[in-house]
């Protein structure tokens, strides 16, 4: 019974997170200007990280947690570099 509840809960959550990733991808492809695309990329990183956490719940292994942590760090560095690039035209001054 517990396995069924967790399976369906995680499945519904993964469908929702996949829809969130699709919405972010739409904005990434469509977005009128560069800053919209950077924002969409940041949102996409977040959704992907949460999907990995739900995969960890589904499989019961903690390997996915480390992948989610790495995605969180890379998301921070990537968005910061892109915002800096939009501000000045160069990343390292």
């Amino acid at each position: 019974m517990s396995a069924t509840i967790i399976f369906w809960g995680v499945a519904i959550a993964q469908v929702m997170l996949a829809l969130a990733m699709a919405a972010a991808t739409w904005r990434l492809l469509r977005g009128p200007r560069a800053q919209d695309r950077v924002l969409a990329l940041d949102s996409l990183y977040l959704s992907a990280m949460l999907v990995l956490v739900t995969f960890g719940i589904r499989t019961g292994s903690t390997v996915y947690f480390e992948a989610a942590l790495v995605i969180g760090v890379v998301s921070f560095v990537g968005t910061l570099a892109l915002a800096k690039f939009l501000m000045r035209g160069e990343v390292i001054e």
Partner: protein, 132 residues
């Protein structure tokens, strides 16, 4: 899924509710990212996901592994703290870069300058940006 035969049902219901709530809040934020009209409205939407969306999903993960391994597993707190600290930094930098770009291009939707009586470095930097 080895220990799931003895997994208590209240914890399973709690994990399912938390993970669905977190995913739903993240989805609402992503829908806002699609539907809002200007960038300065859109920049608010994904923060639903970075605050309570991530909090609920990570809390579900923490509850699940704590019950499964019969000991407190709290390493999800690490991700949450990292997200909470870094998201305002990146989004404020991005919004400031957008404001700078809009003022350089003199776009029509740019927020007016000096509407809060600001003076000093921000106004000077804006003037310098317009000259470039």
């Amino acid at each position: 899924m080895s220990g799931l035969a003895t997994f208590p049902e209240w914890a399973a219901v709690l994990v399912a509710l938390l993970v669905i709530a977190g995913a739903a809040i993240t989805l609402i934020g992503a829908i806002g990212l699609v539907r809002f009209g200007s960038f300065f409205e859109r920049v608010h939407a994904p923060t639903l996901g970075t605050s309570f969306g991530a909090a609920f999903v990570l809390l579900a993960s923490a509850v699940y592994f704590s019950v499964l391994q019969a000991r407190p597993v709290l390493h999800e707190v690490l991700i949450f703290v990292f997200i909470t600290v870094t998201t305002p930094v990146t989004l404020m930098l991005l919004a400031r870069a957008t404001l700078y770009r809009d003022r350089v291009e003199a776009a029509a939707t740019t927020p007016a300058r000096g509407d809060r009586g600001q003076s000093g470095p921000r106004a000077r930097r804006g003037a310098a940006g317009r000259e470039r």
